[in-house]
Amino acid sequence: MAVDMRLPTVKNSMSLSHSAGDRKDLVVPGDVITSDTGFMRGHGTYVDEDKLTASVAGEVQRVDKLICVRPLKTSRFNGEVGDVVVGRITEVQQKRWKVETNSRLDSVLLLSSVNLPGGELRRRSAEDELTMREYLQEGDLISAEVQSVFSDGALSLHTRSLKYGKLGQGVLVQLSPSLIKRQKTHFHNLPCGASIILGNNGFVWLYPTPGQQEEEAGGFYTSLEPVSLSDREVISRLRNCLLALAAHKVLLYDTSVLYCYESSLQHQVKDILKPEVMEEIVMLTQQKLLEHES
């Protein structure tokens, strides 16, 4: 058994990627952007005594006459139509479930937006309403897609495809939504032996790659068979790698996660979360990513 105790050290921010000559216009809340009144104000700005002032911390974007400030760090997920999210059921209501997706309001999953077990297409009856809890309970995890956004900002989700639905055994990692890169697909079967769902809302789901027999029941059947030790190790290693990348603000997508996994193979799984090992692994990952891009 091991106890790792040490004195805290000041963390130096690592900046490997210097984009030379790419000076971004960074502002903090209260900074005056311009005193010129000819501009239209967009998101993240307000007018204070005829001066356009920033209300969030971020970079200034100017499109012709429109000035807006895009926040650097989004602590809450602002969903758009088509985003893939991983969420947890918080409430079971009359014809819908409330799902927590790290946004300002709980998202909504309507009963008409889920696939019934067996894949049948029919009108939802009163009996379906009463047996909602058999499909999804409080605490269950689901993967879903954003169907629409309500006027108050709440997201409406749907699981109308076989790849979405209730999630089985695995590990959930909660990160900041701004770290997830927008890609064509968010479901990846990594070559190291595990699968990953990178939800746009910052929730990342790691699970053992399913075999061939998981196609029936529309995603509501969860296998409770014990996962093998080797798969477990891969998942734990991936989880620690994700936390290491998130701590150093590296954009997360399948390639960066894979490079980080490969760089971490020389260390033990539980050592990855030590500060110096984290730094080393992330630096190797960033170098590999730079080489890959050039």
Binding site: V3, L224, P226
Partner: protein, 291 residues
Amino acid sequence: MATVQVSEAEKVYILHGIRDDLRVDGRGCEDYRHMEVETDVVSNTDGSAKVTLGHTAVLVGIKAEIGKPRPMVANEGYLEFFVDCSANATPEFEGRGGEELGTELSNTLYKVFNNQHSLDLKSLCISPGEHCWVLYVDVLLLQCDGNLYDAISVAIKAALFNTKIPRVHISSDEEGGKEIELSDDPYDCMRLDVENVPCIVTLCKIGHRHVVDATLQEKACSVASLIISVTHKGIITCSRKVGRGSLDPESICEMIETGKRVGKALHPPLMKLLQQEESLGKKRQKVGFLG
């Protein structure tokens, strides 16, 4: 304690992992998370320490005041504990939500230190029956990510090591009454011997095995936990069972054995770290809260 929701499948995954001695973050059943200890972080206390265990952060401040000794033990000083669960840690502690947990934690601390050997209380006596040092130990929970007892006990040990109590001289004045004088030199102070101060180990029973330093997800899968405080010699000063579930006497014995072993192994690295920090003296770069 702050709670997280876990789905049935996640619980099964965690259970099977612990059965195979591979937890979700790759640790074994008896491994602690990464711990950082720093003393002397609050300048207006006589001793302070901040401990970060994973994402759990605890701040302890100790103030020494002169008071009247307890009637039963006239030649000893005493300790007073107060645990404040601040709303910074989790929204559940807002308003009076953290009071219940705070009283539970301080009652446990009273039990842990309620014996002759943990701290030499006779050294806190100034004049028997009239004046003694009272050490007010204030614990502040900054962040809550499971395993509060262990982090608090390590922080208290570090803060007691760091405590500097000023030396006092008793002199009698003209009318025959006693007068207490503090020495003029601000660095003339008394340190406490924390060799025998115990550390608390929390063992959570999950499935058929037990784990040390459980995270909030693992806590949600366990039904009962055993809290024992162990000194550096392996002696247990206090034990408590928490949780709604029941524990088999055989498993309690196993858990106590594990707790003794783990607790005994906690003390040497902590003392070494505290002495190393002390030897750095003025050259030490203080990290504090903005590191």
